[in-house]
């Protein structure tokens, strides 16, 4: 389907896909940078997946990521400790910043009954402008060309193994932990029950409100961690305007196509990372700009979801027809 659109722009689809493949998967170098590109996607994706699976509409990944990133970026400039204390400390504070940002929404929901769906969205915009304010006025690096903070201290850069950043491994471990948590612990079970049926969970004795608060804090932490890994393990090591890119919404989309399962989320995040990284290469090779990838991703999401739900709906209809016929013929 997407090739039709490429054709429309007078480019050969095959060439585009080849470039996508070469730069996304083709060699260890491009593969590892694809994995690095997938790092924030894994975390925002898992964050969205857990929230949705628990029936909490947390759409604030973008804002939480930004808050995590800015806190890490600012602390990274001023904090003075040893390397192996500093990196985890910075990552965790970033996550906590995201959790607190989500915590505002949780408090608003709990005490003022404000729907988290709209308030998380609005907090995204507030976070966006707030962080831009911070990097344009108080923490501006005057030598940078665009509004940005100073580089964090060199010793806090996350090491990489042969091009593959440790940040990716951290994200993977955290995601695996989330999978375990949702599958085997009592809380995880409660969360999932809330997603299936709130009333059932209520009758089963879960405290819905405090669980929702927990889910918001937890998913906020994940998004915030995505932000701080972006600073510690990314390529820029500073907070720049527009660093959040589209990670928040990408995470939401990934969670959706993964049907809110953590493992599938990781896989789709890798796939999106490959696309993203390949998109940059595609821009080099052909005249298709990398913005096309955003469009391509959306088309993929819609197609996957549509096929799945169409099959489900019409499959069920056929099944019931068959059943009906059986009953009728027997009678």
């Amino acid at each position: 389907m997407s090739s039709v659109f490429i054709k429309m722009q007078r480019n050969s689809p095959l060439e585009v896909y080849k470039a996508l493949y070469d730069y996304g998967l083709g060699s260890w170098y491009s593969f590892s940078s694809s994995l690095n590109a997938a790092t924030p996607l894994i975390l925002t994706g898992v964050s969205a997946a857990i929230a949705f699976a628990s029936g909490v509409v947390n759409l604030g990944q973008h804002g939480q990521l930004l808050m995590g990133a800015i806190v890490t970026a600012i602390l990274g400039v001023y904090l003075d400790t040893w390397r192996w204390v500093g990196i985890p400390l910075l990552a965790v504070t970033g996550g906590v910043a995201g959790a607190l940002w989500a915590g505002i929404v949780a408090a608003m929901r709990r005490f003022y009954r404000m729907d988290e769906f709209i308030s998380t969205l609005m907090m995204n915009f507030v976070a966006e402008y707030f962080t831009i304010y911070l990097v344009t006025y108080p923490f501006l690096d005057k030598k940078a060309y665009v509004p940005a903070t100073k580089l964090i201290k060199r010793l806090y850069f996350m090491p990489d193994i042969n091009g593959l950043s440790v940040a990716f491994l951290v994200a993977l471990v955290v995601a695996a932990f989330c999978h375990w948590y949702m599958r085997t612990t009592k809380r995880g079970y409660e969360f999932r029950m809330m997603g299936y049926n709130v009333n059932f969970a209520k009758i089963g004795g879960c405290s819905i409100e405090s669980n929702v608060t927990l889910v918001l804090l937890y998913t906020g932490f994940l998004s915030g961690l995505a932000g701080s890994l972006l600073i510690l393990g990314g390529t820029q090591h500073r907070f720049m305007k527009g660093i959040g890119a589209n990670f928040g919404w990408d995470g939401v989309m990934i969670a959706i196509i993964a049907n809110n399962s953590v493992i599938e989320t990781i896989l789709y995040a890798l796939f999106f990372g490959i696309l993203k990284n390949g998109g940059i290469g595609m821009e080099f090779e052909t005249s298709v700009p990398s913005e096309f990838i955003v469009f391509l991703q959306a088309v993929i999401v819609l197609t996957v979801v549509a096929t799945r739900s169409a099959i489900e709906f019409y499959g069920q209809r056929i099944k019931s027809l068959v059943k009906l016929r059986k009953v009728v013929t027997k009678g």
């Binding site: 969205l121 955003v294 959306a298």
Partner: protein, 298 residues
């Protein structure tokens, strides 16, 4: 000082229009019981194609035509996924928004060869209407006159739609479909058809909101220029439960906050904080409504 106040009121009308148009569009789907969050995307597409038509054909009318076509096709896309293929409406909405965002940034780069924003004298803006009999009253003229004509249509539309929803057969059918599609079906209404129609109307109105943004409010297109207005309009619809006249009122409140923000930029306040105001206002309104709800529930 009085000048400033009148200026603020004029600007309020101006900035509330796109929010109101999108909210009126979303109202249709609200009554048809479709959880439609695609206004943002439809608006963005409308804004882009308005500029596209205006740029290449040198006329605002073609711009509007293009925008409406894009709005309708986005609505058809939404309907295809959400109504006929039975996807989750929420997911479809997010998908549509992403398609719009991706497509407009991509097309901005591949068609106009610019990144960020397209500003060009070739974009023809909407004509502005002078209200003739207001000449004698300069203050009122400052507020009400010399706005793009869509603004007047939009405010008229709010009243027309109020009648349409509550006093006509179509309105009744629409609401019946939303309340209970099975019952509506037994009364001889085709629920899918009504839903499709309401989605298309939503697409048209949201696209008009986009036209107002890119050809009326300013005459340029920038990446993601709808910037959350679709979400704010969704918040409005949910808060007032879809009543068109209340939408009008609440849109004015939001327009007021937005123009206050714009005015404050000229003073000491950092522009980022000024831009935050509409979103904070949304949170505040949400808070007020939440408080009310709590009072009625307990």
């Amino acid at each position: 000082m009085t000048d400033l106040i009148f200026h603020i009121f004029g600007a309020t009308l101006n900035s509330s229009t796109p929010i109101m148009l999108a909210a009126l569009g979303g109202m249709f789907t609200y009554y048809a019981n479709i959880f439609n969050i695609a206004m943002e995307g439809m608006m963005l597409m409308g804004a882009f194609f308005a500029v596209y038509g205006s740029y290449f054909f040198g006329s605002w009318a073609v711009g509007i035509l293009f925008a409406l076509l894009s709005g309708i096709s986005m609505a058809l896309l939404f309907a295809l996924f959400a109504i006929y293929l039975h996807c989750d409406e929420f997911i479809t909405g997010i998908g549509i928004n992403m398609v719009a965002l991706g497509w407009t940034t991509y097309a901005l780069r591949s068609t106009f060869k610019v990144k960020g924003a397209l500003i060009s004298p070739r974009i023809i803006g909407l004509p502005r209407w002078q209200i003739p009999f207001l000449h004698k009253m300069p203050f009122l003229e400052e507020i009400f006159s010399n706005h793009p004509f869509v603004l007047y249509l939009a405010f008229g539309l709010a009243f027309v739609l109020d009648l349409l929803i509550f006093d006509t057969k179509f309105g009744l059918r629409l609401r019946a479909t939303g309340e209970d599609p099975e019952t509506a079906k037994s009364a001889g209404i085709n629920p899918a058809g009504v839903k499709l129609l309401s989605t298309i109307l939503c697409g048209i109105l949201s696209a008009m909101a986009g036209v107002y943004l890119s050809l009326g409010y300013v005459t340029l297109f920038s990446e993601n220029m709808s910037n959350g207005r679709g979400w704010i309009s969704l918040a409005i619809i949910i808060l007032v439960k879809g009543r068109p006249l209340s939408i009008l009122g609440l849109s004015l409140v939001f327009g007021f906050f937005e123009s206050i923000g714009l005015i404050l930029q000229h003073y000491k306040l950092a522009p980022q904080f000024a831009s935050m105001i509409p979103y904070l206002a949304t949170l505040f309104v949400l808070y007020v409504y939440g408080k009310q709800r709590r009072r009625t529930e307990w």
